[in-house]
Symmetry: C7
Subunit: 248 residues, 7 copies
Amino acid sequence: MQGQNQQQAYDRGITIFSPDGRLYQVEYAREAVKRGSASVGIRTPEGVVLVAERRSRSPLMERDSVEKLHKIDDHVGIASAGHVADARQLIDVARRQAQVNQLRYDETIGVETLTKAVTDHIQQYTQTGGARPFGVALLVGGIDDGEPRLFETDPSGTPYEWKAIAIGGNREEIQGHLEDEYSDELTLQGGIDLAIEAMAVGEEDGFPPEGLAISTVETESGEYRTLELDEIENRLAELDLLTEGDDE
Amino acid sequence: MQGQNQQQAYDRGITIFSPDGRLYQVEYAREAVKRGSASVGIRTPEGVVLVAERRSRSPLMERDSVEKLHKIDDHVGIASAGHVADARQLIDVARRQAQVNQLRYDETIGVETLTKAVTDHIQQYTQTGGARPFGVALLVGGIDDGEPRLFETDPSGTPYEWKAIAIGGNREEIQGHLEDEYSDELTLQGGIDLAIEAMAVGEEDGFPPEGLAISTVETESGEYRTLELDEIENRLAELDLLTEGDDE
Amino acid sequence: MQGQNQQQAYDRGITIFSPDGRLYQVEYAREAVKRGSASVGIRTPEGVVLVAERRSRSPLMERDSVEKLHKIDDHVGIASAGHVADARQLIDVARRQAQVNQLRYDETIGVETLTKAVTDHIQQYTQTGGARPFGVALLVGGIDDGEPRLFETDPSGTPYEWKAIAIGGNREEIQGHLEDEYSDELTLQGGIDLAIEAMAVGEEDGFPPEGLAISTVETESGEYRTLELDEIENRLAELDLLTEGDDE
Amino acid sequence: MQGQNQQQAYDRGITIFSPDGRLYQVEYAREAVKRGSASVGIRTPEGVVLVAERRSRSPLMERDSVEKLHKIDDHVGIASAGHVADARQLIDVARRQAQVNQLRYDETIGVETLTKAVTDHIQQYTQTGGARPFGVALLVGGIDDGEPRLFETDPSGTPYEWKAIAIGGNREEIQGHLEDEYSDELTLQGGIDLAIEAMAVGEEDGFPPEGLAISTVETESGEYRTLELDEIENRLAELDLLTEGDDE
Amino acid sequence: MQGQNQQQAYDRGITIFSPDGRLYQVEYAREAVKRGSASVGIRTPEGVVLVAERRSRSPLMERDSVEKLHKIDDHVGIASAGHVADARQLIDVARRQAQVNQLRYDETIGVETLTKAVTDHIQQYTQTGGARPFGVALLVGGIDDGEPRLFETDPSGTPYEWKAIAIGGNREEIQGHLEDEYSDELTLQGGIDLAIEAMAVGEEDGFPPEGLAISTVETESGEYRTLELDEIENRLAELDLLTEGDDE
Amino acid sequence: MQGQNQQQAYDRGITIFSPDGRLYQVEYAREAVKRGSASVGIRTPEGVVLVAERRSRSPLMERDSVEKLHKIDDHVGIASAGHVADARQLIDVARRQAQVNQLRYDETIGVETLTKAVTDHIQQYTQTGGARPFGVALLVGGIDDGEPRLFETDPSGTPYEWKAIAIGGNREEIQGHLEDEYSDELTLQGGIDLAIEAMAVGEEDGFPPEGLAISTVETESGEYRTLELDEIENRLAELDLLTEGDDE
Amino acid sequence: MQGQNQQQAYDRGITIFSPDGRLYQVEYAREAVKRGSASVGIRTPEGVVLVAERRSRSPLMERDSVEKLHKIDDHVGIASAGHVADARQLIDVARRQAQVNQLRYDETIGVETLTKAVTDHIQQYTQTGGARPFGVALLVGGIDDGEPRLFETDPSGTPYEWKAIAIGGNREEIQGHLEDEYSDELTLQGGIDLAIEAMAVGEEDGFPPEGLAISTVETESGEYRTLELDEIENRLAELDLLTEGDDE
């Protein structure tokens, strides 16, 4: 309890370090990420796959409106986990950055450059007072000069590059599955299937088609594409993970 | 009590996360929404229906002045629940956004675009210090390219799309009724009747005609229309939910 | 006492909600309104009546200087209850708004438009930090396109329209009298008398003529007019509510 | 003691109301006024009289420098009680306002207009954070269109008009004397004498001539005039209230 | 102890009044003045005398650098007591004010005008948050239209005029001596001697010549002049108050 | 425990000193540096060596994206330890400073000048409120006029020059090894080997090639160069410190 | 302990005085000065001497980079003690001031003028909120019109002039030695030797040559000059205070 009291003394604002050099508010923002449903990103030679779970509070809600996958530019998409409204702010930052790059240099923005513009924005909310950190993690996936890239941003504002990664609720189990099953030679199709299977770890019943959102950015075309509902349904059926949806 | 004390340590300002990643002030703003009387939105192929209960503190008050339904543009309306004065601020944001869109692009604003402009505004009041969140939820209903759309905004600044939804006091019971009775093939008239019946759940006596405000945006005309008092009276009578008003 | 302690935890600033979604500072500002002497507004087909009690701290004080009725424009007046100095700020806001409207659109401002400009101003003092809410309620009465209108503004910044209403000290008893005696067919004279009688509820001795301020905005002329002292004296005598003043 | 603890919870800043709707900081500023020596204003048909007591901390201090009467314009003077340095700020506000009026409209400022410009300034220091209220009350006396006027401003920023009034230390006893002895038909000389006698209530020994400052604004001339030391000495002698000063 | 606790509740910031209307931070700033060594000002018909004690922390310190007397303009000087660095800020304010006056009106600034410009500056640091009061008192002495004037400023920002006054440490004893010995007919020389004798009250051993700084502004010449070390030595010897300095 | 309580009283903000003259928040930021993995810098006559450990949270993470070595300009690099997102901000400051120097003076920035521009930026975050210190230490290495230079910046904003230095986790042991083994006559190759051996102190198993990042700025060429993975692998093998990586 | 508790109540911010008129944060900043290693300044007819101890945290650190002596202009140098990063800020202020003076008036800045520009800057950090005082003391030495001058600045922002002075750790013992041994007729060489001997008080073993930094500004040349390592070594050897350095 002594320990707990000490912690409480240093976790009320982003502008103070604890005696052991931690920023508690940033750590609590990571908890906010865990409260959200999971998203998964997988990089394959054929392209990047982004998959997000979409939970519905009611059968009358349009799951499409649970926005967890966002097209940023023709060649880049972002998946999010955590505080949805916070994610929307960062998505706006990313889109503006992509547009500015296009206008200023007349070329599409690099995936890494884009990621770092976003993490710099996030960092400022962890150092300057009068605001709270962003309670959201992002997966930034896209094609850079014909090369598939996949980055993660966390609430501290640090960028990491990944072959395959899970963020949000149940992250540890999903990441474990990815580490067990990931191979450098996955096809794009194989990447989609691995992502779905990983998401299903701990979800006993599988998903209805509208319970998942799936996007890809293919290496060859360099184009961001959102999978149609029937494509998702096919994949789920094939993987024996299809449950009945809430629409019918 | 330990738990309660801990909660209190993190719920005094919007700029801090609790150790489990929650924003208590945003959750308390949701309670402010529940303190208000209910509003219901229903989407049918023939158009969107918005219904709001108007409670009167005295028979001498003009119920018309309890503003819960607002015309934003020819093709969009908003219903609110919660802190009335807060709602008015967001209605202004929405109207300005609609005008700006008209002036800048010479076209009417999309219902989804409009909703997201409002939720972005709401989000900023949950992250930056020196203010409190908006204690209000909105239903944004209208016609987009001949398509009826119905969105909800909550105090966190997250947008959701719905087929049918209740906000405000007694929300759970009303939503339960909507989930039981909603069908994709409702007529506009059927939508109005379902909304009234849902609102009546838990209200033993029904409503006087001036106790409800009802608006529609029809798919064909794309026009926002407020029902006259006698139209409402007819519907209430038909549904056997008419009580005597306070005017006579 | 537990309950009391909890309340105290959330009522020290306007920028926080309590766990049950209340804004205590706004509720306390309503208490400031109740500390002031009462004002009454009555709408009749022939015009709007505003009546305010003027209490004197000493027989040497000029009761005229206890400003509770204010002419805003030729066709609109405002009565206040609560913190007098706060009321003066809102009266300034209202007058400026009326002038701006005249200059910009070359037409007199509508009573409802005027009221909402004032309530929007009030709301901002309930959401943004660094200030306190306005401790005052207003009655805005006037003629809109030949139509008598009567609005109330409260410390939350919500506008309501009324047929007849009391604000300030002893509000409940006065409002009860109004509800019992109000009729839609009152003459302006009848409205004045009803307002005086309602104000007298709980005041055993009646009023000296200078103890009341009375204004009307007549429907036909659309002109704001302040009653002379002898007119008030006549009405009080007629209603058997005349007491001796402090001037003689 | 419970009551005392509760009070303390709400009196640390101007931007919060107490649960019963009070602004404690404004009330404490009124206590600062009572800590100052008294000032009295009296309105007679022949003009306005302002009298202030000047206390000396040492016989070597120049009592003239204890500024409690201030000429604002040819036709208006102000007497103060309370925090002297705060009074000087408001005197500056009043003088600037008088000059601006002269320059802008080419006419001398009305006494009421001037008073309200000052009270509006005071009110802002009671609502917006980052400052404290003014710990001073003022008496504004002058001639408006040949009419003598006398106003009071208090720390809440409320203006009141008076026939005769005392502010500052021992206010209640002095005001009681004024209420007993004031008559509407006082000559200016009679007003001066009444003011001196009222000030002497509770001062057993009377005053040395330099212990009082006296100014008048005569109705006919409309001119602010400060009485010479020998005039004051004569009046004190006549009223049998002359004590030996500190200068000889 | 109860009383002590209450005091502590209201003395942590300049922007709050205590329940009895006091500004504790201003009172504490007065204590800062008492912590400094004393300064004395004396007004005689032949001119104004300013004397300040200069204490040395070490025989290696140049006492000249302990700045307590400052020439502001040809005809005005200032002596200070209290927080030295704060005094320097006010000296700068005074000098700028004197220059501005010269440039704007092409005439030397009046001693009273100058004093009030400084006290207005001081007052603002007692009302607006985010800063502390000035912990310094000043004596402003000079010649106005051939008239010697001597003013005091205190940490509240109030100006007082004096014939003779002490500020700083041991103020009460020194002022007592001045009150006993001051005469309106002092020569300038007599004023210097009285000031030295008063400063010596409570200093058993007298002063070394460099332990005092002495300036005069003579009525006839209107010129600020600093006494040379040997002049001071002569006066101290004559008054039998000369001790050995730290330089030899 | 008394001591602990006292400490806690002064360590909640950067803008206060503790009674013994310490800035606890800056000291806690130093703890944040120790939480990061180590970096080492070594200066030899042939050039400067920067080595950083890169830890991986998962075999699926790209260790290259754990950015701890940064090219600032052709002739300067920076290694960091501590809060990664904070380091990125300082890297940006350094790069902008290098560019500005190039543009303004048309010459490459000196290593010392660059370091001090960064430390000045860091210092401001330790003195002005509303932000926290940077939780990061940097090693700035490069060539100045043919001279190898190596600087350290710490969270207080102090620059130090070194022959060889370790920052971050396990700093003390690594520095001890450097002090034992450093010689002024090291070759660049010898510097790389010493840095790797020092980093390995306390790491029982050695490193996989991708577990270290190594850069050099050679004195002769004056060029910043990053070692390829196989070069690192060779060095590790030679030093018998090679473990199996996570990629195969 | 009561006393200690009281102190703690007033020492958390620079913007409040304690009840006895003290500014605790400024006093704590003085403690920060004492935590630094010592510096000494000595004024002789032949010039000013500045000597600073440079401690090394490791034999691998370049002691030259422990900056405690700074050339400000050709004719002025500054020695510092305390928080090194704070000193750098003030050095920048001093250098900018010197440049501005040169540009604006086309003449070198006076040593006293320069000192006061720095102390004014320091004072502002002791009165206005949102920052902490500077934790550093400076010795400003130089030649003014052929006259050697030596000033000290402390954390309160007060300037003092000295013949000889020590600041920083072990100040009292060193100053005692200076007071015992200082003579007005020291040669520059004698000043250097006295400074070294004073610094050695309490340092049992003497210093390695690189453990001291020594600068002079000679009266005749008016030029700031830093002593070479062998010059320092010679002086230390002569004074029998030479220990072995860390470089060999």
